[in-house]
């Protein structure tokens, strides 16, 4: 039971923290809960489907289907986060402090971010739970309690993060959430780069640039939380660092361009 608690807590915490930030970033947008909720449903359905067809998916791409599909999920997720940051900056320039009107296409990106966040860990959780239910000697009641408590604890931390960001950032909510989301997106593309290496598609810049595991190990709880928030890797390769920096660069350039375009509007 304790084991299930820990595994569910750890796997769901990452999703829950990301959703907390997304929920804070989209605060004040009409119908945003609808888009977040439909993303959650799509993510859960998708996770079950991936788990059901896992053997088929994993054996594709010469046995590297898992790496390839995870890389695609991460890259889609990161692009949608970038899109959301740029779009929100644009919308903020237009409306200033007014509440944002819902724009269906842009809000769809929020659903996709939510769904992909769940997909990343979801299929693993489904496969793991299925295995435990069919093989464990413990009673189903205990197994269910352990996993439910782990999930609830992780979700509560996500909600606390959401409330915390809104309370602390106040007027600077948009700026703070944009920075947080930019770092998360950069971490995702760095991770995707490594998955492309794992799948034998890329072979460049593979020497680790440094090793800071003696300060913060990526395996420690703090290291994992840092990994979720800023994409912390204790021994990054040149390729991972390049993807990380390039992503931040792209976000900076796109946001700058958009705000230049908006200048005439501001002077109206």
């Amino acid at each position: 039971m304790l084991k299930l608690f820990i595994i569910f807590f750890r796997e769901i915490l990452e999703v829950s923290l990301l959703l907390g930030i997304i929920a804070a970033a989209t605060q004040g947008i009409k119908n945003r809960s609808l888009y977040i909720n439909s993303g959650i449903v799509a993510g859960i359905v998708g996770s079950v489907l991936i788990a059901a067809f896992a053997n088929y998916i994993f054996e594709s791409f010469d046995g590297y289907g898992q790496e390839v599909s995870n890389a695609i999920i991460l890259l889609v997720s990161a692009s949608m986060i970038i899109w959301t940051i740029v779009w929100m900056k644009n919308a903020h320039c237009k409306t200033k402090s007014k509440l944002l009107d819902s724009q269906n296409i842009s809000l769809l990106s929020i659903s996709i971010i939510t769904a992909t966040a769940i997909l990343r860990e979801g299929s693993e959780i489904v496969m793991f739970s299925y295995g435990i239910i069919t093989t464990s000697n413990e009673s189903l009641y205990l197994l269910f309690t352990g996993s439910a408590l782990g999930s609830i604890a992780a979700i509560i931390i996500g909600i606390l993060l959401y409330k915390g960001i809104i309370t602390i950032s106040g007027k600077h909510l948009f700026k703070i959430t944009s920075i947080m989301l930019s770092l998360i997106a950069a971490g995702m593309t760095a991770q995707a780069a490594n998955l492309l290496v794992s799948s034998q598609m890329l072979h460049i810049y593979q020497t680790p640039l440094w090793n800071s595991s003696w300060i913060i190990s990526q395996g420690s709880f703090f290291g994992q939380v840092l990994n979720t928030f800023v994409g912390y890797i204790d021994n990054p390769t040149g390729l991972e660092l390049s993807f990380y920096i390039a992503t931040l660069g792209i976000i900076y350039l796109l946001s700058r361009k958009r705000s230049n375009v908006q200048k005439p509007n501001l002077s109206d």
């Binding site: 793991f128 295995g131 290496v197 595991s213």
Partner: protein
Amino acid sequence: MQKKLLYLFLYVFAFISPALAYEKETHEIEIKDHKFYPNVIETTKDKVIKLRIFNKDKTIEEFESFDLKREKIVAGNRKIVITVGPLKPGEYIFFGELHPETAQGKLIIK
């Protein structure tokens, strides 16, 4: 500008490590009762190492290593392949993320 681009190109090209040029080696690892057999693998540096992992348990496991930068699910009674390297001498720890208390192993490069 053109000169700069040429330098950039050369710089990028110099760092591309053609993995094909390295010697290849395959090692088999079994997972049984949430443990790796063998749990220590020794080899020499500058090789591309293929790890074939066969999970003989009914439950899924996730092969994970921060040192090797790999993370891969292996379903019950299934096999996966992980390719790493070329690696520098040292110890590279790996573990089963879903049973870290028992599933531990390391790759030693000399």
